[in-house]
């Protein structure tokens, strides 16, 4: 049995359709976020920004942006562990993700 039907393989998702190109939205713990801005600098997809007044700034995902690749660079640079992607992105049709399990931290076997 094929993993993808012919019909699925022929379907290329629309780049700007959020139902067809499902990009992760990172989760942000607003209690822990200190608005340091480092995550917005290292995000390769440029989907993060800080908002709020001085002294109480927080990170958030930009409203109009697509493209988070779940690389977790934001998590890697966050001193407070306040931000991170918990899932991979997915697509419909030709690019549908196959054979993926859940996200996991490095596991020692």
């Amino acid at each position: 049995m094929a993993l993808q039907s012919k019909r699925e393989r022929r379907h290329f998702p629309d780049w700007d359709n959020p139902q067809e190109c499902i990009f992760q939205r990172v989760a942000i713990d607003l209690e822990a976020c200190d608005g340091c801005k480092l995550c917005t600098l290292v995000c390769p997809a440029n989907v993060l920004e800080v908002y709020g007044e001085k002294g109480r700034k927080k990170a958030r995902v930009k409203a109009s942006q697509r493209g988070c690749i779940s690389c977790n660079n934001c998590r890697a640079i966050c001193e407070n562990g306040a931000i991170g992607a918990t899932q991979a992105n997915d697509f419909v049709g030709f690019y549908r993700q196959l054979g993926r399990g859940n996200f996991a931290m490095p596991r020692r076997f």
Partner: protein, 263 residues
């Protein structure tokens, strides 16, 4: 015994030879659940770094990285690589400008998301993109296409304003699949960099430079050599060393006459 049988016998006897010599090499036992060793730690902490300090990387560290690159495994030991190290800001800027212009052309020609839905421009570029998507499904994946437009609009830098850029050139006459050897060689380089406290990022968009006769001549990308990947190098901004979660992938495990699926 025929010659080929002799060869098989020699292969099977390898352990016997060791024993007969009385020089049995020790097996290092790693207990279950052991802490990460230094190499594993480096591999787990490596991130693709796109924000660098302005400070230049000492030349001897670049030489160290290339030195371990030289020892990467390759098919038939063909070593199908050639390195170009660029450390002049104006040359890197020139490469940047060329790749940005190429992205602008690509974005204008194919990225329908920049046009209002229903407009004739949207319709035409979308039809073109659909066609090219079939022809070049790897190039026109939705992820890099968002980046192409970000580069075209100046929201993203191709070479990340890094102080040093290493170009990995491939000898296209390499044995088997030389692209794989370039990947392995580059992996040695970026892991060495990580262990030296440096940050790196693979830059596939650098391949646009192959289309420029001028850059090919300037950087030595002439037949049989071809630019395959670039690696930016520099000191990372901030401390991107916290461990992160990643996807798990299906592992088919065949043992004891059974097949199990693990993640």
């Amino acid at each position: 015994m025929t010659e080929s049988n002799a060869a098989v016998a020699r292969f099977e006897d390898a352990e016997e030879v060791e024993r007969s010599l009385g020089r049995v090499a020790r097996i290092s036992e790693v207990p279950e659940g052991a802490d990460w060793n230094a190499v594993e730690q480096v591999m787990l902490q490596r991130r693709s770094i796109r924000r660098y300090k302005r400070r230049q990387v000492p030349a001897h560290l670049i030489r160290r990285m290339l030195e371990v690159g030289r020892y990467a495994p390759s098919q038939g030991n063909c070593q199908p690589w050639k390195f170009v190290v660029v450390r002049d800001a104006d040359v890197i800027q020139g490469m940047e400008d060329y790749c940005v212009a190429a992205c602008q052309k690509l974005s204008r020609g194919l990225d329908y998301t920049t046009h209002p839905v229903g407009s004739w421009r949207h319709r035409i570029t979308r039809a073109k993109a659909r066609l090219f998507n079939r022809l070049q499904p790897n190039m026109l994946h939705p992820v890099p296409m968002t980046v192409v437009t970000a580069i075209a609009e100046g929201r993203f830098a191709v070479f990340h304003r890094a102080p040093t850029v290493i170009l990995l050139l491939m000898d296209t006459r390499g044995i088997g699949s030389p692209e794989i050897d370039i990947g392995i060689c580059g992996t040695n380089i970026v892991l060495a960099a990580q262990s030296l406290g440096l940050g790196t990022c693979w830059v596939g968009f650098s391949k646009f430079l192959n289309q420029s006769r001028e850059w090919c001549a300037r950087l030595g990308m002439e037949h049989p050599f071809e630019l395959t990947e670039a690696i930016t190098v520099g000191y990372p901004v901030g401390d991107p060393s916290h461990l992160i979660a990643r996807d798990t992938h299906e592992i088919a495990w065949l043992e004891g006459g059974k097949k199990e699926v693990l993640y």
